[in-house]
Symmetry: D2
Subunit: 425 residues, 4 copies
């Protein structure tokens, strides 16, 4: 029975860098000290920074995106000790709500420069760009993406329990193996190994802080053993998630809140990023890892996602034949990239430029489905774009054309002249 | 104004092999003669065979699956000449309905033997298996998958326009390149090149038949230029699809009907396969390829898919770390396979064996989403399993356990003793 | 396991009057002989006539509606003896499918003349009118209602178990009481008492037929004890309904199929009326009336109704203040009528006439909600009109106006000059 | 572009009676002074009291409900002058969000004593009762209704523009007529006429305050000309409502926020009542009353209502035959009451008492539909009860029975011994 306000387990400061806030941390490691305790059954609020720890500003240029320091990210709230949780248990987390902070009713999405972050379409769109989104209750709009408005399917990009030392060692083993064996194949960074620079080990000091700095797993990838940076847009308000517990107290961390995101989070910087507050309630299923065969988190979504109606999506198909005609064998990633390109080519007809569309596909609640993964050699995926987020008709029978509406522009860096359209073949 | 019954553009015979029915064809080639004409604006019905052309029987063993002749498949209805369609146009196809044939109210799903077809999980489940599904109006059930019932999201697995000669040549070029360059890498067939054996070139004869036999593209993969075997479960009743036209008359073909399918069609043989009848209505957008930037088909789904409620799915997460702990770089295909495995491990607790679950995930309307494809090195996917298709509680808090219900078995080959559970790690 | 076609429990003839088909009946009475037996667990198909028993034709005038003989209606299929059902049991009926007959792919909606049938808005629209609907798979369109297309939420208007003699006597008592006490108040027929003229007592003859003719309850109203003519649009495909059993064998009857209907079925003649086939499967809950406190039927709807998205309805409000400014005390019926009028007034701006809109509101899947019934003196109701059933924009910000599209006309009687718009104040 | 927090147009005090807060008002009258200005296009927040103006406490007895002073209710926020709005315009109000106040995370529902307020089922349930609801993010639970949890479809019970003097006079005329002509028929208060006692005329003083006190329309009923107390649960977050403007500046008022409500708001005190904050954005359609034929408000709902899945409702049917067997002629109100009774009888089997169920049906998002209003003499309505709001199985095949779960009790007055079950026949 809560007669007074709900307790805040953590608060954040939007005016100083994330790296200076010791109730947060930016590595996965079993030795990061708990920042607070939460009792099972208790409903608590947890404030979180946006993922770059206050580096991005509400401006009309993308210099901050271009120059972002990617060693200073993912300052997570926690870890929280859930009283009574033991290794082998299942930690149940109900996401009771996620909201922006009243003191900052805006967020952003960025396209990283290919040299500093990149993203899913970096080979075509190498420049930095940015769109600011204003929050109006459940809706968001952007002056950089005119004629679009959508309801946020608000969710935490990152939520996870702490790894045990054994699991952490396994992560470092397998990711190192990838770096060693495949870096030359992909022509890009394939994984980010432990990096002592700019570690925030929570309140740890001395030898423990040093150990965390040396071994702590980076927060970029989600990982099967605990969740982490999964960026699952449907793990939203009202969801109930089931996490394996690997250390005493579970040590749950959360952060990287998104006001909205499309399936794939394709621009990497990536959703409508925002600081905010998440309300959770936890419980424990004793011995749940075994009972539920819980090797990875699973969840049951809430009952209030956006409902656009199945017939209100325009759906694009993508196959594993890339933009230069090369055939890839059942590569769902290639197929998804092609579906993105099909959507970009289509939306150009209304006057948006490619970067705007790239930002739109990253942030709007697009539905990315795996359609077929067995019909060799082509994987087939689909992207469903909700037509109702536009204030004009984007259907194939639309009367609108380029020039009928002023589509403005997204933000770019100040000193550059951009090619706004990529010539696919 | 249709006062009498709607016209059938094609009928099929369920009692003789598909290869003997010349109103059908089993290759993609511009020279396959049209089997019938359809006027834009006309509503017509088209009967279709199930994908193996009547090879599979309603029995309790999987010998027919084991021994299926995979050169005798995909006997498509058509090609249909859509009057007035010209290269460069967009052919709009409204799928007004898809239904089983009243004379055969059942279908099947198979797991192919690894040596003859295989599938998405062939490395774990190499044996042939089968489940027969009975159709009761909008629902289907299977004696081989007790305690499960679901509504069919009925759809054609294959629909596409004919390629031009140029497009056909490009297909053969790029798929040959794949076979030449990558066959050694994957340890399996990577693509199926033209194969004169058992070609059904429709009503073509002589030199034209020979040309089709020699060059005709195989029907297994969907392809970006025309659609084809996309296996998109949501391209279902009420959908409006937009196809590029490459040859005069468009030459639309359709077949491989599915009563239901899960995203991915993971077992390859694959959905609830059935003969049936599809009702379509077509129209033409002149110069639509250019107007709509239509490099691949797109569609708007119908308004009557199954509605289980977002909170009625149990959702599993899969990451691009495989079952032996190897890290794959942003491989969505691996991630999707892992999500399948998580679902299999989970459902075992109620007494189903792995093959049954594999068949279930292939056929039930599971939702496969691309969650994140940018958080190096891990792609993240999800599989949402609708809990309401079971007649008992499968939620994590369920009181049911193995042995509480008789889960029967699926069909296997007659002469084999099976390992029904794969030991993942 | 159904390998061959599903059994038909009843077939109908579309070429002769319903009154000549003795496998049907048009009264509720315990002594009407069963027309066929159905075993619990068996899936069967049942053909049904449209509700006037073949009186209405596919024409462009409404003379047949004007002259319809309303003593010759509701020829129901059945009654069916469900083996093993006893009084006090609950009969469970799963509606596995409802479809038009392949041999008649059209239906109709009528507005009755006020002197012969009337309807919810008869005081404003006293003339007969008609719209013919063509069925194209899951969709219907009408040449009398241009620019509208919707998916049928197909359902039986009538389904019910037979009354016991005691229940029948109670019906006759209370409806007679109403006729005696209130006929003078309403200025219209308030209830239809037993009427021997044109009785079809199924296969009964002699004294039993005479008893049925004398006492048999008319089929117009739904009644709480058994269901009957409920016209619940959501009792559609996939639904599971629970009926009290009052006589041995339950004696289930069904008919009056609707391809689509709006909440309220306001024109009375009323939905998209059609002959068709319903597929059902039954089971019995022994002593279910007591176990479930089952005084009236209840149901669980299927999972495939039309999904237009909650934000795709334009919703009108109606209050219990009538069109001449008279205040009614918490009269939900008045409030619902006012919501209808608001929708009519609104849709005129696009060029439809009042009769067309009346027909549209009767047939399209409008959502009629009870909003408030406690805020004295006003009841408040809402009508949600799905905007996606129109092929042009009907939203308040639409650019379309009267004259922009040709809205044609509905069918009227041949010898009359109509007032097409009612002047509400 | 909102960089800082969104502006509050009104704040409220939860610690003093509503009647002492002059930024509020509790009558409808054109002369109530505007409490603040709002510019079209501006997004503002508006705090509101709960409907009794702080009379109800978070306790376990219902004395406060029993003794509530019903002349001290509906202290509305506003009226707000919308700049530029003129009579004849349409005022568009987008409901961007509605939330509880962080400082009071709870609300309540009451059943009024029949002598002081009453409600839809007052003839059966004459006693006062209460349930307190705790808010946990999007969910609410009640210690007085165990085993139930649902997501709030949060909405304002009251929203409306000010009447012109002419409209106000018409209201008083027609409601007086009702009181004069029908009070003797219904045996209860039929309408509440102007009442000077406890008027809060906003900031008006002197003669204007006296005029408002004398003529001001009471706030209980919604009225067709402006909306008001409509209690439409679907006019929720994300909705866009269209109001006629009758006075310069529109003078929009809002209040009576509900965390959740069932269709009908049957207990009258009525929904989950709460103080809260509503975020709105307005715009003006010039001459919109004429353009849109806008005699009553209309709206387009938001895209995030609760989604339980159509097959997750248990639906009860109600007919216009009352509980003592009297037949009413097409009385939808009677039919809706009977559907409520069917639901009460059903839910008793799990151990809830009638008052608890009455409170549940008032607050949970039940769907109340008008099914048929033309099949004389019976109107037919349905109530859909979402099964997923219970943490145990309430379906007809449930294994649960009375006694299996502790259902606790709701709050009653301290000095009374209650009959908890009404004996319907």
């Amino acid at each position: 029975m809560a007669i007074g306000p709900i307790r805040y387990a953590t608060k954040v400061d939007l005016t100083i860098p994330g790296g200076e806030q010791k109730q947060l941390h930016n590595r996965w490691h079993p030795d990061i000290p708990s920042s607070a305790k939460i009792a099972p059954g208790e409903t608590v609020k947890i404030e979180c920074l946006e993922w770059t720890g206050n580096q991005i500003k509400n401006t009309d240029n993308a210099d901050d995106i271009r120059n972002v320091d990617l060693t200073k990210i993912h300052y997570l709230s926690g870890p929280f000790e859930i009283e009574g949780a033991e290794p082998g248990d299942c930690l149940v987390v109900e996401i009771k709500d996620v909201q922006p902070l009243e003191r900052q009713p805006w967020g952003y999405c960025g396209v990283f420069n290919k040299e500093n972050g990149g993203g899913f379409l970096e080979r075509f769109y190498p420049e930095a760009a940015k769109a600011i989104f204003d929050f109006e209750g459940i809706h968001c709009t952007s002056r950089h993406l005119p004629h679009v408005r959508f309801t946020g399917l608000i969710h935490p990009g990152i939520m996870g329990t702490a790894p045990s030392q054994e699991i952490l060692d396994e992560w470092n083993r397998r990711e190192t193996e990838l770096v060693v064996n495949e870096s030359h194949l992909h022509g890009t960074t394939v994984a980010q190994l432990p990096e002592p620079r700019n570690v925030l080990p929570g309140s740890a000091t001395g030898d423990i802080a040093a150990k965390i700095a040396k071994e702590g797993a980076r927060t970029i990838p989600g990982r099967p053993e605990h969740g982490g940076n999964c960026d699952i847009k449907n793990l939203s308000r009202g969801s109930k998630a089931f996490f394996p517990v690997h250390v005493k107290g579970a040590k749950l961390s959360v952060g990287d809140l998104h006001f909205s995101q499309g399936d794939g989070e394709i621009s990497f910087c990536g959703a409508v990023e925002m600081p905010g507050v998440i309300t959770i309630k936890t419980s424990i299923i004793k011995d749940g890892v075994s009972k539920l065969s819980l090797k990875s988190p699973m969840f049951i979504a809430g009952d209030v996602p956006n409902q656009y109606g199945p017939s209100r999506y325009l759906t694009f198909e993508g196959f594993s034949v890339d933009e230069v005609g090369k055939q890839h064998f059942l590569c769902t990633t290639t197929a998804y990239r092609q579906a993105c390109i099909r959507a970009i080519e289509y939306l150009r007809r209304f006057g948006y430029n490619d970067y705007q569309i790239y930002l739109l596909l990253s942030t709007a609640p697009i539905e990315g489905h795996v359609a077929g993964v067995v019909d060799i050699p082509n994987a087939c995926t689909t992207i469903g774009l909700p037509m109702d987020i536009f204030d004009f008709d984007i259907s194939p029978t639309s009367k609108f054309a380029k020039g009928d509406l002023d589509m403005g522009n997204c933000a770019f860096v100040t000193d550059y002249k951009h090619k706004l359209t990529y010539d696919f073949k």
